[in-house]
Symmetry: C2
Subunit: 361 residues, 2 copies
Amino acid sequence: MAVIVSQDHSKKDTVTLHDVAREAGVHASTVSRALDPARDFKVKESTRQRIIDVAGRLGYRPHMVARWLQSGRTATVGIVVADLGNTFVTPIIHGVAGSIEGAGMLAIVAETLDDHARFKNILDHMLSRRVDAVVAISARADDQEILESAGRIIPVVIAARPLDETVLRQVVQDDVMGGESAAEHLVELGHRRVAQLRGPDDVANFARRAMGFSRVCRAHGVDEIELGDQARRPIISEGKRLTEQLVDRVDELPTAVFAHNDLMAIGALSVFGSAGLRVPGDVSLVGYNDLPMVGLLSPPLTTVRYPSLEVGQRVGEVVLQLLAGHDAEDIIIPPTFVVRESTRRVGSASLTRVAGAGPGS
Amino acid sequence: MAVIVSQDHSKKDTVTLHDVAREAGVHASTVSRALDPARDFKVKESTRQRIIDVAGRLGYRPHMVARWLQSGRTATVGIVVADLGNTFVTPIIHGVAGSIEGAGMLAIVAETLDDHARFKNILDHMLSRRVDAVVAISARADDQEILESAGRIIPVVIAARPLDETVLRQVVQDDVMGGESAAEHLVELGHRRVAQLRGPDDVANFARRAMGFSRVCRAHGVDEIELGDQARRPIISEGKRLTEQLVDRVDELPTAVFAHNDLMAIGALSVFGSAGLRVPGDVSLVGYNDLPMVGLLSPPLTTVRYPSLEVGQRVGEVVLQLLAGHDAEDIIIPPTFVVRESTRRVGSASLTRVAGAGPGS
DNA sequence: CTGTTAGCGCTTTCAC
DNA sequence: GTGAAAGCGCTAACAG
């Protein structure tokens, strides 16, 4: 009575093409042909059946690595992200993985932690691994050169964080339009005095959001309060810090605030709360990204939806297209504005809402 | 004046070991030795320098695929997840990726979408790709056989969703203890009448949470209301459905509810709100997982923290250990109970909280 | 239709 | 210390 104590991974069971060939009484190359749907018509049906049979019986599993060495391709896409802990990137990976899997490709993922040296290492490593293409999510400006040099060897697609002036294909969202839509919404609600909580402006997304927002404000003669500072990173604590500056240092507070992303908006929400300011009663607040749970905050956050999943899917499609030898266009996806309850017509009475109430007037 | 219209990926630039050898006037095997830190002592320092020099100048990049074919290993770990869209799995991947990268390994990710046939395909594919190890996050009971059969070839580690009775190594969290801690917390607050919103009981996690919770209730003579139904999937809408049953069908409502995960708790929160029941004023609510934003809900959710990141890290360590030929122990990580504001001493006055207020009495 | 012959780029004996 | 040769498992070109 055998007792299995643990796994042993006895290497002996590697069945090769030759094993199948010997067992089926044919040459290895015949087996190779018989098992490849693209060439199996070159093999007599009866032997083909016999080979498939033997292969199944022996538990033959193709050794892709050998195939790769021969073909020079690996059916693998390398995805480089700054930080997997950022809930923003996951849907993009999800989208990419989903759209390349139809082509039998898998994604391999590595994190740069926003470190330039690590970025270089990772890209080098991926090229050594002979990935067929690279997707860079959240590349920084310093990484551009490395990416373009990799782009001379295999297709490289930039996702989410746009690069200015590059030959690389990009799939991004229209941040300018996103900033504009936030401003337009506030203008429509009658706001005449607003402020932005700016993300780091060396990230093109934030610079563009700021630009779109300001442009619309200017066009409508809306006063924009300049904080003269920006978040060092687009995170909750920095949103708090900027909002504190706003509350402490500004004489006449704005009636509406546009945070460059939801995390900063959450920070703002918390500071406003501590300062006794009601959202949206005293100040309206708009975020950016539409993270999974911001619709459940109190109040549910009005925000610009970043279509991460779609970005990922389109990236996957672009990769496949490039791999097929066709060129591809840059893709710019328009954002959607999501109106929830953190914004309100300026000066309107502060009505108490009843949860689950029907459609208001 | 040349204008670059697009990327061209001219394959010609693949520098091989032989190219370096020729250029350096030595044999390929010497280059191989010189470039491998583990064997470079076998090469005269001067030639070693020359080789490194030439390699750098030519832009030589090792062809890992060839190395893999030779060595039989790929420095790759396959991670199989049910759904990348589930925010719960990301930190686990994050953790795994982080702890294996020190060994120069990368993770490749594939989604099963909780489909058994897909699961089989993916595992087959990964074995064909010759991954060195497989990590299964959220495997289902039907997948066990496939996993164990793969486990005879390479190390397979089960993460997060435990399997009963298996030779495979597991890294999970102690769900029984998690259920117990929820019950203990409620008992301490004086609750005598409680209910569970159960997740699907073919997932061991939920069955165990239920068990721990009930055990403590019984020990303290606390009444547990049985809904006689469970969520079909552990998601918001199912949390709503079960809570509606509770509100509609039960004569005397419980004073506290234990939702088997945060998503269901969020569903409950919404139904309680619509029914005019205040949390925690009228009913206390405990969730499970401590998803990123539940601390920002209104009220901030009391919950059991699931240490996803740590689970991932430990999984990575176990993988490395197994790969090194050592056996490894199963790892069971104790949960942490996070008290926030969705639970309250039963019958205590419904005091209005001021956001950001100091430490209460 | 099927077998033979060469490699893909690298590591690994075994000589010298 | 270094070179020569063999081979990892597979596919591709060429015969027959």
